[in-house]
Symmetry: C2
Subunit: 499 residues, 2 copies
């Protein structure tokens, strides 16, 4: 191979009108030719001046490309005697043939392909009627910004490191513990509070700490989409427990073998809105005791009750140390903050903290310090109080509008609570047709996540969230929802008439 070949090669391969600079194109071509031995080890390359003249580019372009190739050991410069192809590449690296690639290219694993394709949460987080989202537009970012900025400095360098204690920043755990004891009747000390990076991580941590691969977990059906997904990803078999008008009914559920834990949302079942009465709570704890089950209580939106009756937590009734209480800042602060927490019985608190440190290597202590201030300075309680009024009014308006515009076709969940209502649909409406019609009205509806064994006839419902809908726009959203409903019913009737 002669030196002249490089200029021929470049002359033929350079795209002068391409977006990529010529210098980079030359670098790429020479590098590839060194790697595949089109340019042989030891071969002398033309001088930058000669090459520049040959292919008609500026000399500095060639010099810059050569310099980088020399710095990266593809070429070497031997003083005055020229530029040479390095000997480092002993065997040419050739691209695999397409057939060989097909045969050899590693693919996603079975679980990887499943995780990479199945439906998760909605991608849209604002507007009517995306469920489960707090209204970030009303969050006091001016206060939050000030508190975060207060800690982003060098006065305490330990905040810039990993969380020494995997369970999080102790003053924040103290503030959460105070809050939960007072407002949720949770029985806990700060050491029992474990910070996580969101409810996904809370469930993952529980699954890995409390169950082994192949063990079974019980969930409600419908439930939050993440629960079966995260439990399954942790190797658990997921089964639906019986769910009735008083919530999860563990005593009526045939337990699968190796059942280890149950997840429930007793204070405002997600998404059906069922509120579990005290008697059922006690029955649940007794059934869990008899079966030796861990109970994970998801108390995701209990801060927002609009009829004044607080419901104490299940955890506060537990005398065995079998309830893990799970809460989040996603609804009381804003979703992207990514702080949730679990409260665990004292006898496993150290193990939980250690497992967090090992499995997740948590940090974000500046934010945790700011959040502790936000709570201790009273902003947290203040914000909840303010938002409770706001969300309560939105739910009131939503109920009025739905009753007026679509009362014949939907039946709403009763609880005056949370950030959504559960709307059971008349059997003339199909959820698939309704969501399609809603899409045409620029509406997003939550579709409840049922477990496969859930009877098809009981699946006729949608979830309407109002966290992303200002009060003034609720009626308009409902008007569009009513139009979508009518369209879905009309389609059904047309089809029935045709069929």
């Amino acid at each position: 191979m002669k030196e002249v070949l490089l200029s021929d090669l470049l002359a033929g391969a350079l795209h002068r009108d391409a977006e990529q600079p010529l210098q980079r194109q030359i670098y790429d071509i020479v590098r590839r030719c060194v790697l595949d031995h089109t340019l042989l080890p030891g071969q002398r390359l033309p001088s930058s001046r000669a090459l520049a003249a040959d292919i008609g580019v500026s000399r500095i372009t060639i010099t810059l490309a050569y310099d980088r190739l020399i710095a990266e050991n593809y070429l070497s410069s031997r003083g005055g005697s020229g530029t040479f192809v390095e000997h480092t590449v002993e065997r040419p690296l050739t691209a695999a043939s397409p057939a060989a690639l097909q045969r050899h290219r590693p693919a996603l694993s079975t679980r990887g392909a499943a995780n990479g394709s199945r439906r998760g949460g909605l991608a849209q987080h604002t507007g009517a009627f995306v469920p489960g989202i707090a209204d970030a537009g009303l969050f006091p970012f001016h206060l939050w910004r000030r508190l975060v900025a207060r800690h982003l400095n060098k006065s305490d360098l330990s905040l810039a490191g990993y969380a020494k204690d995997g369970a999080g920043f102790m003053p924040l755990r103290q503030a959460i513990s105070n809050y939960l004891r007072i407002s949720r009747s949770v029985v806990c000390e700060p050491a029992q509070v474990i910070l996580t990076a969101g409810t996904h991580q809370s469930v993952d941590l529980c699954a890995r700490l409390l169950a082994d691969p192949g063990d079974a977990a019980l969930v409600e059906s419908p439930c939050h989409w993440a629960f079966p997904l995260v439990l399954d990803a942790a190797g658990l078999r997921v089964h639906a427990a019986t769910l009735d008008e008083h919530g999860i009914a563990l005593a009526d559920t045939t337990l699968p073998r190796r059942a280890r834990l149950a997840i429930t949302s007793p204070s405002h079942q997600y998404p059906t809105g069922v509120v579990m009465p005290l008697a059922r709570r006690l029955e649940l704890l007794q059934a869990a005791r008899a079966a030796g089950l861990w109970v994970i209580e998801d108390d995701y939106d209990s801060e927002f009750r609009y009829d004044g009756a607080p419901i104490p937590s299940l955890q506060g009734l537990d005398t065995d140390g079998r309830v893990i209480y799970m809460g989040t800042f996603s609804k009381t602060m804003f979703a992207g903050l990514r702080f949730s927490y679990i409260v665990v019985p004292p006898h496993i608190a150290d193990a939980c903290a250690q497992a967090c440190a090992r499995l997740y290597r948590p940090g974000h202590l500046h934010l945790q310090a700011a959040l502790a201030d936000f709570m201790n300075d009273g902003h947290f309680a203040q914000n909840i109080k303010r938002m409770r009024v706001e969300y309560g009014e939105r739910q009131r308006l939503l109920r009025i509008a739905l009753q007026a515009r679509a009362g014949g076709l939907v039946t709403l969940s009763e609880a005056r609570a949370g950030l959504h209502v559960y709307a059971r649909l008349d059997r003339a409406v199909s959820v698939a047709r309704l969501t399609a019609a809603a899409d045409e009205e620029a509406l997003v509806l939550g579709v409840p996540h049922f477990l496969p064994e859930h009877a098809a006839r009981d699946r006729n419902a949608v979830v309407l969230g109002y966290g992303g809908v200002p009060a003034a726009r609720i009626d308009d959203g409902v008007a569009r929802f009513a139009r979508a409903l009518d369209k879905a019913v009309a389609t059904a009737r047309t089809r029935a008439a045709r069929g």
Copy 2:
């Protein structure tokens, strides 16, 4: 049971000098007595005035406790006729006997117990010679604070939500992609860059996407403690690949059955510091192609090279799409920031983004936007440049001091790179005795994480980090290290003489 019993009960159980307010004590006692039917459903309780007089506390204390118990449905108030125990509790909830608890209380799972106890990373993150930590004391927090504060407002509410695209904030992925293409010869488009919450999550994501439970993964031995831990937690069997003076030697490794992936740190093997030459890189890619393995390239500290020779990434040599490039902001920014990234081949980029959204539900977009600005405004490159000078000087001083004070007992890794040196110890020194002696000198030494099959004779080494040690304090740290070494050798000699 008569009403008088409640006053007797309270009079006997209240601790007037306890930290807990009397009102809370009364609430707790009454609630417990309602739950276990010491106070029977329907029973009339004394008026707040009468009870207050009976037990000698202020009436407001009783009123507040009663109000809360009424609000939580333990008691009810029937206008003028008094306060009654509610009927909600049908069956008394009794605490399990200690024996029954022993039998029934759910325990941690097998993997939970393992994860809750095994050693992870060091809890200490500053001082001589904690390995792998950036010096947060030199980080420009004044700039970072300004950029974070710039985004913590309501101008873009989508930043307050979950990451719509599970792979992260696109302008940040664009900035990372530009950076990696220029400085690390990584071949990538922004869509191939997947943001993670740290290297733990990067490895977890790879393990779940690329391998199924029971598949095998190859790691270097020694390696970062998190790799075997996270791979094992994801259900993989972890094996050591051969590691020699040129790095991982896949071609010389007997592959376990169902081998799916290998993790390597070619640019500065962690912790031994071996730099993989180009020829070995090509050999590695060819061996991986032959075996159909995914290769995960951990490029954790390649920003810090002090002898001027950049080493292009393994990813840039890959023509098959089998290399996953892994990088982190923990060394270039600060550890607690919790942003790392992987660069994946185009054919699995969408699946990776989707899996992130599903498995982790990421957020922190305000911080991602600030980080994009930090990079695009040039602060990131500027900070690396500044810290490269600083760390280079620290390593130089560390080498000089170690040579002078302990040259006969330690042999240092050669690479002028990173935030640590690997110190092989004379066989007269035992690592256990050395770390014990170092502890007395208030020093923290990194102990390399070897796989079980690693030969005991090759384990005689410690890792010395200087990210947490200002240049002016290096010599003092080394003096203490030398004293610890002498002590460890003297102990060994005394024992040998005795034995």
